[in-house]
């Protein structure tokens, strides 16, 4: 399924196009995200970036390296370690007519700004009867896998997707890392943009002639007739690796990248279920109350009779993420666990 151009994104695409053509075709996810930021800052004088260590340090994950030198301290603003104050300031600046990009170093620290995200960003539109819009983009790194232990390994994007008023996007490819930001900025609502820490070093080709993406549709990243692996973010690449292993065993897995966790693309999910009749949902969040639980429920509600087997889930085991490598690996979704879940699914149920 090609990524569709939304009307809002199309406008952003026109201004972003020159940078897209100038960018090298081969780049890392980190570079793609940086190009997305540069393009946004060049395209619209109302756009500015603020957060911890985004300026002189160049970003905790080096995404914003060089932007301070290029755009100056008015537009690339280092903040104190005051998540609530600078996230709230981003919300207020959006209300007052600017287009702020707020970087929270990681999702773990976003909890210190949760009051602002939930009680202000997500609710001002409603509490004001539609008078106030909050076109802020809040970027943050998410995910586990680097032995950072229990306080630095959260995957709370599904948790944020619980909240009406927010949009939650999870770029997992070079193209999305490059272009989702523009679509998020073109959106009049608050958008939370999650970048998995394992993706920053990933390298790949930027699709030639692509100038914009939408933030409304899921995308099929691999075709397959036997089952669908439904996932997003850092888990996408585990699913693609698992699909390779499954193919070697004669099991053809489709891989659906949700891309946006709120609002979910129900149509794409159900279409995939109707094509394959078996679904495994792969989500780095904890299993209980996860986005995987939500997707599973929607499949049950909307495509129950298309299923040949119960929906399966591969999520993070319900334990705070432990420090030792072997325990962390065991806690997180892995290609092996995904393959195992797919094999079990193929051996159960199905037409007689």
């Amino acid at each position: 399924m090609p990524e569709l151009l939304a009307s809002g994104a199309a406008r952003a695409a026109r201004s972003a196009a020159p940078q897209a053509l100038a960018a090298p075709a081969h780049m890392s996810y980190r570079e793609a995200a940086r190009e997305g930021l540069r393009a946004a800052l060049q395209a619209d004088a109302r756009v500015f970036l603020m957060g911890e260590d985004v300026g002189r340090y160049g970003g905790c994950y080096a995404v914003t390296k060089g932007l301070l030198q290029e755009f100056g301290p008015e537009r690339i603003r280092d903040t104190p370690l005051s998540e609530s104050a600078f996230v709230g300031a981003g919300i207020g600046a959006a209300v007052a007519g600017l287009r702020p990009i707020v970087e929270i170093m990681t999702v773990n620290f976003s909890l210190l700004a949760l009051d602002q995200i939930l009680n202000n960003a997500a609710t001002l539109c409603h509490m004001s009867g539609g008078q106030v819009n909050v076109p802020v983009v809040i970027r943050m790194a998410t995910g586990a896998g680097r032995q950072l232990a229990a306080q630095h390994s959260h995957s709370l994007e599904g948790w944020y997707a619980h909240i009406p008023g927010l949009r939650v996007v999870t770029p997992a490819t070079i193209d999305d890392a490059r272009f989702m930001l523009a679509a998020a900025l073109a959106c009049p609502d608050p958008v939370l943009l999650f970048e998995h820490i394992f993706l920053y070093n990933m390298e790949g080709e930027l699709s030639p002639s692509l100038a914009a993406v939408d933030i409304d549709h899921a995308a099929v990243r691999r075709s397959g007739r036997d089952l669908v692996l439904i996932t997003y973010g850092g888990s996408l690449h585990k699913c693609l690796a698992a699909a390779e292993q499954l193919a070697a065993q004669g099991i053809e897995a489709e891989v659906l990248d949700l891309r946006t966790l709120r609002p979910l693309d129900d149509a794409a999910i159900m279409a995939a279920v109707r094509r394959t009749h078996r679904a495994v949902i792969v989500d780095e969040g904890w299993r209980s109350g996860s986005i995987a639980a939500e997707v599973s429920t929607r499949i049950m509600e909307q495509a129950f009779y298309d299923l040949d087997a119960p929906v399966a889930r591969v999520c993070t085991v319900e334990v705070p993420v432990p420090y030792p490598k072997h325990l962390e690996d065991a806690a997180l979704p892995s290609p092996e666990r995904i393959v195992q879940a797919a094999q079990q699914l193929m051996s159960s149920g199905g037409p007689p």
Binding site: P80, A85, G88, A89, G92, L124, G129, G130, P135, G165
Partner: protein
């Protein structure tokens, strides 16, 4: 307490204008009490009786291009800012003609056209918001300021300290207005704050701060105007501690076990309306007839607003899921 502030002359015109605004607020709040008893208004209702001089005095200092971020005890701020009383009362009733389409109620009064950004009901939560509004004003090269109102309870919140620091660090034009009514709901300030001298508490952040008699509308207006003038001249943020008192309970569910009746009565004798009326009469600027007329006008305006709210439509349930995401085209 307001040393160093230029005192503007107290004229009949000024005195009557301020008194009229304060009477409108008092009559509005008193009507809300009655309507709450009649079950017309529901939910949390926080009234500002006793704090009218803060609302009126501070709002006098602002231009229409300045912004306001307020709290859940904001009826007075909204009226003094010039929001429609009809729309306010309809909001209390939860009607579609309310200032927030009925979706917010008493605690969430908004008027984007008047740059009145709530109606914020998480204590301290409005302060970070005000930083952003002021940052936008500054980055857009305007001379505007953002007035941020909050109570003494907010001073104990982390968001207060984060916001004071960042506002001073970035020299944002935020006028922090601490409405100190001595109680954070039922917790007396001396049971919550290690330092009761609020200006002394915030000066180390680099924020110019001053305590003002919040019962004296002239003092509040003079101090607010002086602070706003300094900020328009490029000075950084300022804080005014407006010392006032809440005559009624925290909300309609408050048995007021935490304070003596004698204390309330003593403050009522120092109330902003009583003292203003007495002063204007003593200086020969106000007659009893004037007062009666102003009070009658305020009551009539409130009665008309109640009538408006009674007649205002309910939003159809079919529209329940509106106002979650933007409906207007994006600029």
């Amino acid at each position: 307490m307001s040393a160093g502030v230029q005192q503007a002359a107290v004229t009949r015109e000024r005195g009557l204008r301020l008194l009229r605004e304060m009477l409108r607020i008092r009559c509005f709040e008193d009507a809300c009490v009655r309507l709450y008893g009649e079950l017309k208004i529901r939910g949390f209702l926080h009234l500002c009786n006793g704090e009218e001089a803060v609302a009126v005095g501070t709002m006098q200092a602002l231009e229409p291009t300045d912004a306001v971020v307020s709290t859940y005890r904001e009826h007075g701020h909204a009226l003094a800012r010039g929001l429609s009383m009809n729309a306010l009362m309809a909001e209390m009733f939860g009607r579609e003609s309310g200032s927030s389409h009925g979706r917010g109620g008493s605690m969430h009064i908004f008027d984007a056209g008047k740059l009145f950004y709530g109606g914020n009901a998480i204590v301290g939560g409005g302060l970070p918001l005000s930083l952003g509004v002021a940052l936008a004003q500054k980055l857009q090269g305007r001379k505007s300021v953002t007035a941020c109102l909050f109570g003494d309870g907010a001073v104990a919140e982390g968001e207060f300290h984060e916001s004071l620091n960042l506002a001073a660090l970035w020299r944002l034009p935020v006028l922090f207005l601490c409405e100190n009514n001595l109680y954070a709901m039922g917790t007396a300030i001396e049971r919550a704050e290690s330092q009761l001298d609020l200006p002394a508490k915030v000066r180390p952040y680099g924020v110019e701060a001053q305590a003002v008699d919040g019962m004296d509308v002239f003092a509040v207006e003079d101090a607010s105007r002086a602070a706003v003038a300094r900020m328009r001249g490029g000075a950084g943020p300022a804080l005014l501690e407006l010392r006032t008192y809440r005559f009624r309970g925290h909300s309609m569910f408050d048995a007021q076990l935490y304070r003596d009746k004698a204390e309330v009565e003593a403050w009522q004798k120092k109330g902003p309306l009583i003292t203003l009326t007495a002063r204007l009469k003593a200086e020969g600027l106000l007659s009893e007839d004037d007062f009666q007329r102003l009070e009658r006008e305020a009551r009539n305006e409130v009665a008309a607003a109640v009538e408006f709210a009674e007649q205002a439509p309910w939003e159809p349930v079919g529209q329940l899921e509106r106002f979650v995401y933007a409906e207007r085209p994006h600029a």
